[in-house]
């Protein structure tokens, strides 16, 4: 399991190759990348703030939960913080499993939880103004489908 929170940019192709290279039995690999998008009026950059010790704890917890719920051979989470320009990769998730359903569902689960339960905050700095990204009700709602009774 690879979990990295870093300031530096990363190469998604290289990361995926390394991840794939270490697999022994998986028949399915799913990956997702989050990219800095533009905003109306033009984006200058985004600033991602995080809460270092808690970030590690929260991501570890989310990943452990994914491993309990799905038959995964391996998973990977890379998330950046600091200053990023439009088009740069913010984060990447990869899951590997025998079958694609496990890989797809686990990747979605990881994304849903990383979005609302990992302590990151994004600020969009445009040419005219800067504003903190507001969490959406739909993101919180996305978590409810994973709730077990």
């Amino acid at each position: 399991m690879k979990i990295v929170v870093q300031l530096e940019a990363f190469d998604p192709g290289e990361e995926l190759d390394n991840f794939k290279g270490q697999l022994k039995s998986s028949g399915a690999l799913v990956s997702f990348s989050g990219i800095v998008r533009d905003i109306p009026g033009g984006l200058n950059r985004i600033e991602i703030e995080h809460y270092p010790i808690m970030t590690e704890k929260a991501i570890n917890k989310i990943c452990s939960e994914a491993c309990l719920r799905w038959e995964l051979e391996d998973l990977m989470v890379i998330h950046r913080f600091g200053s990023l320009k439009k088009g740069e990769l913010i984060m990447m998730v990869a899951t590997a499993a025998n079958h694609r359903t496990d890989a797809f569902e686990a990747a979605e689960f990881l994304m849903d939880y990383l979005k609302s339960r990992a302590p990151f905050w994004k600020k969009e700095i445009g040419s005219a103004k800067a504003s903190w990204v507001v969490s959406k009700a739909v993101d919180e709602k996305a978590l409810s489908r994973w709730e077990t009774s």
């Binding site: 989050g34 808690m54 990383l114 979005k115 609302s116 339960r117 990992a118 990151f120 905050w121 969490s135």
Partner: protein, 83 residues
């Protein structure tokens, strides 16, 4: 009880600090928020809408009713926007 209080995102900007050490008698997170709001206007501004305030106690998500017993680090922040 001495606790480290951390602020992130716009909570940090409104409070004007990223971190401070506080001597508090607060039993719950709510008590601590009330203590802070009495201390200075900037906290009143930061905590004016408690619906958008999240809290972590010793780096674990908690809620405003959570007990402060044996807590060393409290963090206040808005809903997270990772991914």
């Amino acid at each position: 009880m001495i606790v480290q209080v951390l602020y992130f995102s716009w909570v940090r900007e409104k409070v004007g600090l990223s971190k401070e050490t506080i001597d508090t008698e607060a039993k719950t997170v709510s008590d601590l928020i009330m203590e802070l709001c009495i201390k200075d206007e900037c906290y009143k501004l930061a905590f004016s809408n408690l619906d958008v305030i999240r809290v972590a106690l010793d780096q674990e998500l908690a809620d405003q009713n959570s007990s402060m017993e044996a807590v060393k680090e409290v963090a206040f922040f808005p809903p997270m926007t990772g991914g």
